[in-house]
Every structure is written in C-alpha cells, then in structure tokens.
C-alpha cells in the first residue's frame, strides 16, 4: 500500500512530494520514506526533515535525474530514508519543507500506524528488535555480573587517507526488555563527514556467557584533511522498565507509577568514548588533473546526439562511476573547445549503499553549441583520482566524442538555457572562465604610434617650441616694421644707394651713360628722401638742406655744400643727356659714393 502526498505552490517551479511504502508498520519493522524534490534549475535543495522523536531516521540514498529539453532544465532528486518507529499507535511524520532561497514547498503531514508484532501480515524485518527478543533472558546478565545494556562504537580502521571510506559500526546490546525502541543520538565528528548505511541490523549474540539482543547501525565516514580526526561520543536513550516500589513521597511519584504500569520505563542514556583516528596525507606526485577525488572510478563521455547544427545546443555528459565519496567529486576540467561555446555545467548524483560501500554515479552535463560546421571533436577528458586500495594515483580518460555539425539556420542561434520558456527569461550562467587566447599577431596602430612618439628624444620637442618663439618674434618684428616705415627707410637708405652706385657703374661700363645718370639721380633723391623722411616729390634742394640741418644738427657745412654740388651736377646731366659723357658719369658715381661716406659719418653725430 502506498500513500503519496505532494505539495507545490501553484505555477511554482519548485515542488516536493513525500510518500511512505505503507501506512501501517510493526514496531519491529522499517518504513521507507521517499521524498522527491523537483525543480527547473540544475540543482534543487535538500529536503528538511523535522526532528522526529517517534522515529529513528537513516538516510538510505539519493537518485537524481536531469533533463534538458529545448533548452529547459528539469531536475528531480529522490531522497530515500529508512524510518524505524519507536512507539506504538498513530505516529505522525511532520511536514517536510524545501526552500531554494526564493520558493518554498511543503508536504502535508503523513500519519502512520505502528502496531505490535504479529498484527501485520508480513513483517518488515524477520529479526525481532532488542526489546522483543530480550524477553527470553531478562536478568541473566545482572546475575552473572555483566552489564545489562551497553553500546559499542567501532570503526573498521583507525587510519585512512582523506576521502577513503571508513565504516563505523555502532552496536546497542541489551539483555533486558525495553519499554520502547531506544532513541539514537548520532555522534558528531571532527574532520569527518558521515553517510548513513541502512538498514539497521539486529540479532542475538552471546558475550561472556550472557545472551544479548543487539541492534547495529552502520555509518560510512570520509576524512576531510590529513591529520587527526575524532568520532565523538554517541548516545542511545533507552526506557528500561523499573521494578522498584513506588514511594508516595517521591516528587516523581506519578512518573514512577506510569513506569510501573509498563507504559513507560526508567530513561537511561548510554554513551561511547571519543575514538581518535589518524588521517594520512596523500602521497606526493599527484597528476596535474587531480582534483582531490579518492576512490575507484571509471569515466565515460557521451553526447545526446551525433549530428547537430551550428547554434544548436548539444548536451555533452561526462559520467563518473565508482566507489568513493561522489558528493565531493568535482567536475573534470574540460579541454579548451575552440569549436564550441560551452554553457552551463550541471551535475546529477546517484548514490547507492550496497554491501556497506558508498558507490554510485555522478554525471556532469555541459551545454555545447557548435560554432562552425564540419566534423568537430570533443577531445578526451582526463580525470585523476587516488586509489586508496593501491595507494596510487590513477588517471583515466574518456574517448573523444565526434559530432557532425551542419550549417544551422539563423534562428537556431537563439539558444535558451534558462528555467523559463524560450523568449521569456535570462540566460543563467553556471560558471565562468578566462577568455581564450588571441589570434591577433601584433599591437594595434595606436599603441605602436604611442610607443614611437614617446620614444622621441627630449630635444626633439624643443623644435616646435623654437618655431613658436621664432614665429612670435617675426610677427612682432613685422608689426613694428609696419608701425615705423620711415625708420626702416632711413636705415636702408645707405645700402640701397650703394647698390644703385654699383649698378650705375655697370651701366657706364656698358656705355649706357644716360641710364646711369638717371639711376644716380633717382638714387640720390631717394636717399635724401629716406634720410629726411619726406616724399621725393615734395623734396627741393632748399627743403632738403633745411630738413637735414634740423634733424641732424651735427652735419657740417662741407657736407651740405657737397650735397648741393652733387644735386646740381646730377640735375644738369639728368635733364641734359647730351652732357652725360662716360667719364663725367663715372666721376659723379664716385662723388656720390664719397658723399655717402661723409654723410653717414655726419648723420651719426
């Protein structure tokens, strides 16, 4: 008979259901509770079981299934527990909750009827529980001096590697009947994690001539790190029927009276001592791919199809099978897949506990999206682990997986890997990594140009500064020159007159005397005009003499006389060309040159 209840908020992604394999169980039997958590993400939370005083609860295993259909992820994890009842009557399994941080789902309460042995047609456990079997020899242990009840914890080894399984056997012995099934309070651990190994074994044995009924609970332990580890004390609380008379003045009178009636007994706690363990360090020489896995594994790789189109998602799975603490096994490192975009990594875990060995399968699923068409290969994936039986590292690898990729339609490039329907939600990144190496062979132009510019010598930068200074000076000079034209004419007059004399002499030599005289005349007029600061047209001999006397008082009479003589001679020859012979013209040029010499000296006085 199966009772199943399910709870999930309307339209919620997270749901939980719980079922028991029967709704009535003998006090000496076991009950299987199966809790299934479903969600639309790669991982779902573990269920939270309330503290149950009326049952002893042992984890029996878990099984996970994950599916990705059209980019939608659906995960379902089934957790199995074995429940052993402690009291007769209607017992309740409280609501079981799961919470993923956003959504919460709760199962309804489950009721189970616990009956005395023999009421059920088929007992779950043929061997009676301690309190049932111990009716045969109720007080023999006391008579022979041995303890009536004791508990013993014993690991199968005292030394192990981190991650190597250690089986802890906890046995509860009793030679007297008990009022109810005892309550087991599991030990805590230092540097160890534990995994239940149900079911509970029970039987009878003889120790020191005393016959005991016993219950055995086994637990698998895995060390976390080298060094010391401890199994701390565990407790078993048992209700022992009391045969003492009831004292009416005892403050616990009513409790003792109830114990007399058989409904309750005297509560007694039994504990064990601390058990130290030695955890050996893993030997040196671990392969580069070693990620801490200890046990014995095999690895396989597969894709959900052998043909795909570019832009379409392919589910690529790596499955690790074997014995060991699979919960702690991390995903093997994928080789660089240049031909694929790699998206989510999801893991599913199936754990079995057969023959007290933790084994199972852990599957890592990657979403690969081919980038280009052609025959694409996912290379072998390596996985390294430490085999404690051989005390050696082993490296295993998958076979390469080949995919034939065809060109996909443009629309196929929109791939969704999120929980919601395509088009309605966001991509959920599940991991991250550095970006791939670059194929670019050199620096861009900008950094190269920058490198060359900054490598220029410091003095090179003085060139524009010098040009700027020069430009500034030239501009100032031109402005000054424009503002003071007479000053520049005054300064240039001598040089200009000298050039004219040279030119006139050249004309004389060429026999062109008239042109030479005209040139000398114009030159002399220009010279006097520049020195006097008036236009040639406004210059007369008298005015020139007055201006020279006024502006340059140091000019002597001789110089003034020479000016008048030259002026007269030049005018005469200029306006009477027939008088301009070669000899006379040359003399005029020399006289003009001598006058210039004299005037330049006189003008500076």
């Amino acid at each position: 008979m199966t009772l199943a209840v399910c709870a999930a908020p309307a339209r919620a992604a997270l749901s939980v259901s719980a079922e028991v394999d029967r709704n009535s169980v003998e006090i000496s039997g076991n009950l299987y509770l199966t809790v299934t958590v479903s969600g639309d993400s790669a991982s779902v939370p573990d269920p939270k079981l309330a503290n149950m005083q009326n049952f002893n609860v042992y984890s029996s295993g878990r099984s996970q299934s994950i599916s990705i259909i059209n980019g939608r992820i659906a995960t379902s994890v089934t957790f199995t527990y074995i429940l052993t009842p402690r009291f007769l009557g209607v017992q309740r399994i409280p609501p079981i909750t799961v919470f993923n941080g956003k959504e919460k789902a709760v199962t309804p309460e489950i009721q189970v009827t616990v009956t005395k042995g023999g009421q059920q047609g088929a007992a779950a456990q043929p061997t009676a529980q301690p309190q049932r079997s111990s009716h045969r020899q109720p007080t023999r242990a006391a008579a022979q001096g041995g303890p009536q009840i004791f508990v013993k914890a014993e690991p199968d080894r005292r030394s192990a590697y981190p991650g190597e399984q250690i089986n802890l056997s906890i046995k509860f012995y009793t030679s007297v009947p008990l009022s109810s099934n005892p309550q087991y309070l599991p030990p805590t651990f230092k540097n160890l994690i534990s995994e239940d190994l149900p079911p509970i074994r029970s039987g009878e044995t003889e120790i020191g001539g005393v016959r005991y009924a016993f219950s055995e609970i086994r637990t698998a332990l895995f060390a976390l790190a080298p060094g010391g580890a401890e199994i701390r004390p565990l407790s078993v609380i048992a209700q022992i029927p009391s045969n003492e008379p009831v004292d009416p003045f005892d403050p616990n009178f009513f409790q003792n009276l109830m114990a007399m009636s058989g409904a309750q007994g005297k509560s007694q706690e039994f504990t064990t001592d601390i058990i130290p363990l030695t955890i050996k360090p893993l030997p040196p020489g671990a392969p580069a791919d070693f990620g801490g896995a200890v046990g014995n594994y095999t690895i396989t790789a597969s894709a959900d199809r052998s043909e795909a189109r570019t832009g379409e998602a392919v589910n690529f799975s790596i499955a690790l099978n074997g014995t060991g603490n699979l919960k702690a096994v991390t995903a093997p490192k994928l080789p660089d897949l240049a031909d694929f975009k790699v998206f989510d990594t999801m893991s599913s875990l199936d754990i079995k506990k057969e023959r007290d060995i933790i084994s199972g399968k852990k599957t890592f699923t990657y979403i690969l999206v081919p980038r280009a068409e052609g025959r694409k290969t996912v290379p072998a994936v390596k996985f390294a682990f430490f085999d404690p039986a051989a005390a050696a590292y082993r490296e295993i690898r998958t076979e390469p997986v080949v995919l034939r990729v065809e060109k996909g339609a443009e629309g196929a490039k929109s791939v969704y890997f999120n929980q919601a329907a395509p088009g309605g939600g966001d991509v959920t990144p599940s991991g991250s990594d550095i970006r791939y190496v670059s194929e670019r062979s050199g620096a861009a132009a900008s950094p190269r140009l920058a490198a060359r510019v900054t490598a220029l010598p410091l003095w090179a930068h003085a060139i524009p500064a010098a040009l700027l200074t020069l430009g500034f000076w030239l501009a100032r000079f031109n402005r000054f020159k424009s503002a003071n034209p007479l000053l520049f004419r005054f300064r240039r007059a001598r040089a200009s007159a000298s050039r004219d004399i040279d030119e006139a002499e050249a004309l004389v030599k060429a026999g062109r005397n008239n042109e030479a005289v005209s040139l000398l005349y114009d030159s002399f007029m220009d010279y006097l005009s520049d020195k006097c600061g008036v236009k040639v047209s406004a210059l007369t001999m008298k005015k020139a003499g007055d201006l020279i006397k006024e502006r340059f008082p140091g000019v002597g009479d001789r110089a003034m006389e020479e000016i008048r003589e030259l002026w007269t001679a030049l005018e005469l020859r200029h306006f009477s060309p027939e008088a301009a012979g070669a000899e006379g013209t040359s003399d005029l040029a020399k006289k003009y040159a001598l006058l210039l010499e004299l005037l330049e000296k006189e003008l500076r006085k």
């Binding site: 240049a338 132009a445 930068h461 524009p464 402005r479």
Partner: protein, 251 residues
Amino acid sequence: MIPAKKVLFLLLAAAALPAAAYDRSELAEFNDLYKTGRYEEALEGYRNIIAAEPANPWAYYNAGNALFRLNRMGPAVLNYSRAFMLDPRSADIRANLDYALRQTGQTLAPDNVPKALHYIYYLLAEREIKAAAILLFWLACLAGAASFLFDGGGAGRAAGSVSLTAAGLLVLALAWLGARQTSPFTAAGVAVKPDGARMLSGPGGNFKTYASAPEGRLVRILDAADDNYYEIGLPREGIKGWALKTDIERL
C-alpha cells in the same frame, strides 16, 4: 601647418610598418600548444614574442592565459596587467584581468565606481595619453607659429584657433595624466611568488615581518632606490613595508 602634417605622416607611416620581429606562423603554433594543454611550451613561445615585440598587448594576454592555466596566478595577473596597460580598451583583456584579479580577492573596477566612468578613465593607455599630449604640444606650437607668420590673415586666425584648441586639449590630457597617477596600475608591481611577498619593516632580512602581500596582489611601489628591496604600499589596507625585489615584479 605643413611641418606638423609631415611629422604626423612620418609618425603614422612608421607606426604602420609591420613589426616583423618574429614569424607570424609561430603564433598559431603557440596557440595550438595552448589549445592542446601544453601551457608551458605555449608560454615559452609567448615570451619569445614579448621579447621581440614588447609593445604587443596580445603577447602578454596570451602569456597571462597560459600562466592562469598553470595556476600561477601572480605572473598571470602581471601579464594581464601589462596587456591592460598597453591596450585598456580591449574587452578580452579587461575580462581576463578582472577574472584573474577576482581569483586573488581584487577587482578591476571598484564596486562604488560607475562602470562607464571607469571605462573612460582607462579609455587610453598611459603611454597613449603621453603621446597625445606630445602631439597636442607639437600641434599647438606649430599652429601657433603659423598663426604668427600669417598674422592678420584668415589663415593666421584659423591657425590660431587650432593652436588654442590644441593647447586646451593639452591641458586636459595633462590633467588626465595627473589623475592616472592614482591608478593602481601606475608605479605598481605584482607579488609573483606562490607564497606572496613578505613585508618587512625595513629594507633587510633583520627587520620584522609584519604583513604579507598574497600572490597576485597589485602593490604600489613607493621607493625603488634600494638594491634588493622595494618599498611597497597596499593602499586598500593602508599599510606599507619593504619587500624583496625578487618577490615583486614591476609593471
């Protein structure tokens, strides 16, 4: 304007010349080594490229990738940082530097700084800002000289406007360069040893060790005058000390 144009043209032409200091096909070979997981060999190849072409940011980037795969986080951060200093606009370089920094408890962009502002702050490499400042200086001077030479004319006024604009931009570039002096990548180094860098209270083994910069941590180099020790600072923690030069690689 003509001299400025000539100088710019020559500089651009020089920059455009292929830096054929190594065989291009070697890069593909090194990348193949990386692809097949032979990271040490790939790293050796990338180092050869760096030696031949030290201004190539991608050589540093690829070397950073190989070092990251080899789980040598300090040298990986160093190489990504050098790539970032050469080409801060590359999204790939930024992403990998940020990723590597996060592995060492650091971030590229502080959480309280808007991403856009951080991007603009690092839009140009420090060397590019310097080069821009130099070119703006040249432009401002030459255009200024031209404006003086063509004094009073339309060309002179245009040259004057160009010169003033360039001078304004030069001031901005210098201000940017000044602001970049507070960047964690300026006057910085990286702790490259797997055990990090011990920080001593003085430049010598006889001084007390009072802190340790973990591998991959960006540190500010405050003083490099000593032969064997850098004086380094950890701005976030507000502490400084002396670390062996062999433990810190300068950016």
